[in-house]
Every structure is written in C-alpha cells, then in structure tokens.
Amino acid sequence: MTTIVKTSIESVHGSKHRLLFYRCLDDQGTVHKYGPVITADPELDPASLLKQVARRVQESLDAAARRKTTEKEAGELAAVLIAGKFDKATSPELAKLLAESLTTTLVQAKDAPELAKLLKEVEDEAKKPGGVKP
C-alpha cells in the first residue's frame, strides 16, 4: 500500500480569495497534488490544512487501490448471483444488465466499511423467491 510520507505547500496565490496548492510525496517517490483549496477566510493558515490534505490524498490512493483489487471480485460475485437466478441463454440482455448494475454497486460499495452488510443483503435477496430483481 502506498503511503504519504511528506506534505508541503506548493504555492499560495492571492490575498482575499486565496488559492492554496499542496503536494504530497509518497513512499515510492511519487508526487500527488492537492488543490486548489479556495478560501475567503483571511485567518486560515495554509499550513493548518497539511494534515487534512495528507489524509485526503491517502484516502484517495487507498480507494484507488481497493478499486483495482475488488473490481474483479465484485464482477465475479455478480456473475455468481446471476448464474443462480437467470438463464443466460434465454435472457442474455437481462443477465448483462444485472451484472453491470451489481458490479457498479459493489465496486462503489467497496469504499464503505459496511460492504459485508451490503453483500449479505444482496445475497439474502437473491435467495428469496424471485431472486434479485433487475
């Protein structure tokens, strides 16, 4: 997992409506930019946002990493659900749409800690008479 190791202010533009730009360095030597933050608050110290910026960039990197590893898993789960409920030979379009919908939902849900709850809910629905509705 890539980790942010240093965050600094890249530039500050203006005085009344300042544009603040930051840069984060990760442990692989890659620079990730953040900004502009636009502020009309004259009291805001740009350095006071360094920790928040580092956290948000880290979250963004983590989310990107999770997407890469889970997209395949989500697609496979969707395929399993479909296989149990639809005859792909007679309803190929329906199966395709459901697969796409489930994959999208599951990939996005990977961002949330309650993914397991969502997965269980989907699976429970699939077991009911009628199964998952398209």
């Binding site: 203006g14 502009p36 933050v37 636009i38 948000r56 749409l97 999208t104 809910e121």
Partner: protein, 449 residues
Amino acid sequence: VTIYYVDDGGSNTAPYDTWAKAATSLLALTAAITPRFDFGDIIYIGHDHVDPATYTGTFYIEAWSFGNPVIFMSATQGSDPPVYQKAVSNQINMTGYNLQLSGAMTFLGLQIHIRFLNPTLHKGHRYHWRDCRISFTDGARLNPGLAGEIEFESCEFDFSADTSASSAVPLGLAGTDARSIFRDCVVTGGDQRTGTLFAGAPPGTTFPTLTAAGIDVTSLTNATLCEVVNAYTVGIARLSNLLTAATWAPWPTGTVDSFTDVSFVNCGSANAPTFLMQKTGPGDLISTTDIYRDGGAEMDGTPFAWLVMTNDGGFYPDYFIDVGLELRLPWIYGTTEAGTRTFTVHITNDAGDLTDWDIYLEVEFLSVAGTPLTSLATDSAPGVSSTTAQTDDTSSTWTGTGPSFTYKQKLEVTAAVAEDGLYRARVCLRKASIASSAYLYVDPMIEVA
C-alpha cells in the same frame, strides 16, 4: 392508469382507491401491486403519513421503463380531489436499508429516510424528484447505475444522521453513462462528512454526465474542505452557482481521464460572476480576482485573470505531442473591423520565458470579403525544432500577492481581416507539467490593433 392512496390512517383495503381504504405504507401497496406499477399510475401519499413499515432488506419499487411515469405525490391527507402538499414526516422510513427503483417515476413533495438511493438507470429509466427531502443514514449515497436519467429539482439532501466513518462516500454521480441533474437543491447537515459531494464512475467505465446548478453546499464545512468533485469523475460535468463554505475545493486531488471535461462557473462562498474553473485531461484553468494585469480583463468592473496549469505529458513528459491533446483555453469572442489586425494576449509566469511551441495564440477571423468564411491564424511554431521565445512584454503591470511576475510576454497574431464582424481567439499550451508554483497567468482580454 390507476390511482392509489397511502396513509397511516387507512384501512389497507384493496383497491386502495380512497383515503379510507389507503394502504398503510408504500411497502404494503408495492407488495400488493404485482409485478409492477402500470403506465401513469398515481400514488397519493398523505402529507403527514408516518411510515409504519418494518424493513428487513432493500425496498424495491418497480415500474415500466418507458411510457408515462408512475407519479408518487404527497397530498393533503383527506383532500378530495387530492391537493399537493409537501410532506412533513418520513413517508418512507427505512433506517439502514436501501431504496431501489426501477422504471420511470416522478416523486413530488416526498420525504424519505434511507441508506442508499439506488435508482436503477438502465436505458430508458428516468426519475424526477421535485420538492422532496431525502435524509440519509450511515454510509449514505445516491447511487445512479447505468444509462438513464435522474433529476432532482428543489430537493433537500439531509446528512445530519449520517455520522458513520463511512460518510467518506460521496453523494452522487456514479455509474456508467448516467445523466444526473441537480437544480436548486440544498445539502444540509453535512458538516461531519469526509467525502466529496459528487463522485464519478470508476476508471475504465464510460462517461457519466452531471449538471448541478444552484446548489447550496455551505453545510459541507468540516474535514471535507467542502470538496465538490473527486478524482474519479470520468466524464462531463457542468457545475454552476454552487454556494460553498468559506473554504472549499472544487476538485482537489487525483488524476483525470484524457477526455474528462469539468467546469465550475460562478461558484464560491459569495456571488462570483468571474469564477471559472475548467479541469480537463491536459490541465486546469482557474480564474482569480486577486491577481490580474492592470488595464486587462474585467467583468462588471472587477479585474481578473486565469491561472493555468498543465499535467504530465505522459510518454513525452515535456510536451503534449498527440494531436488534439494540447490544453486549449476557452474561446474569447469579440468584434473587429476589416483591415490588417494584430491580436495580442498578455501572459506572465515565474518559471522562465515560454516559446511559441510551449504556448501560442489561435485567432479565427472573417477572411473572405462578402462571405462568412473564416480562416485560422496562429503564432505557433511549426515544429519543436524551430521555436523562438514569445515576445517580451515590457509595458504591462500585473498586480497580486504570490507571484513575482518575473517573465512577462505577449502572444501576437497578425491577420488580414476581410470583413467587419466577429472574431474569436484562444490560448493553447503544448508545454506539460506546468505546476501552480510556476504562476502562469493569462489575461483573457484580447487586444486588437
């Protein structure tokens, strides 16, 4: 077309066609209507109806995906004929579970309390929400799916009950090829959220589109920095008249797809008619009223300039080589008289003189007398091997805090204008990896002499 009633004071008696026989919950009505609502069905829901249903999983509402939409309307309880009245209580109340929609539906004045709103946007599916209030529980999100359209007009999105760690998940614009429209809406109770407002589809999917106009997001104040769009917006988004917190970030992090096209107009903590931000694959433009060239561009008497940054050039890190992938700033329109005209744009930066390969001006002008035909003139170098520095600008004075205005230059194009009338000009950049610390500013006023 069938008319149904839902009210907690009804007798739950089929066919649910009066207030007295009303279904006692939308869940009960939906269970009784199989397999789905029909074209143009109307469901009146008592304005003070309190949803008594117990949910154990996702709540599905289905309708046909074409033809007249099914209408769910909040109405004054007992009114005959039913009179529209915005809800005063949760007409769908499903803490911890999702509402899944499928078909074509219109929701008027409803109040609902849910976790995810999953409008299934298959081709032809469309949803119109007007004057509704949607409050979310933990892990909330609006989750459009595939092709289709969803529109929220004059709606409130309440996140005050969304206090979980998963509140980092964003509100909307997800899925593939979905069209999402938000107009005159307000986001409330969002100060604890740590995610962006709008999030795009995962990389590799097709283009979603977003239109957001007149949205009050001032409640997004906490750790979010009031982030509006995140790194995964792969598509086209137009955001205008967003009222933000004093400190906010339109799109602060992540890389963008080559053909991503996002713009913000008149967004900020106060009315900001000069505000423009464009984020595209090659780079970004953002306007500021704090830094400008004296005597340069103004709007309503307020001077402004454009800060320009470019991204990494990829395989060729110094320049955007591929045809069509330069950063092209917006066209600037004006009129001029026939004759030999020189069009001038002023720029400044702190990193070094720029060449006519790095940055150049394009002018499209009327070039044939008596016709509307145009020609394109440019001061661009013909190739990377024969470049010269753009002309020094020794007369301009720039104002503002931050940049040193070390290098001031002019982009000039001379053209034989054959007819009085319209011209347009734009600045283009091939130079990649121009950081904000280069303080590259463009005065968007075109001088014609």
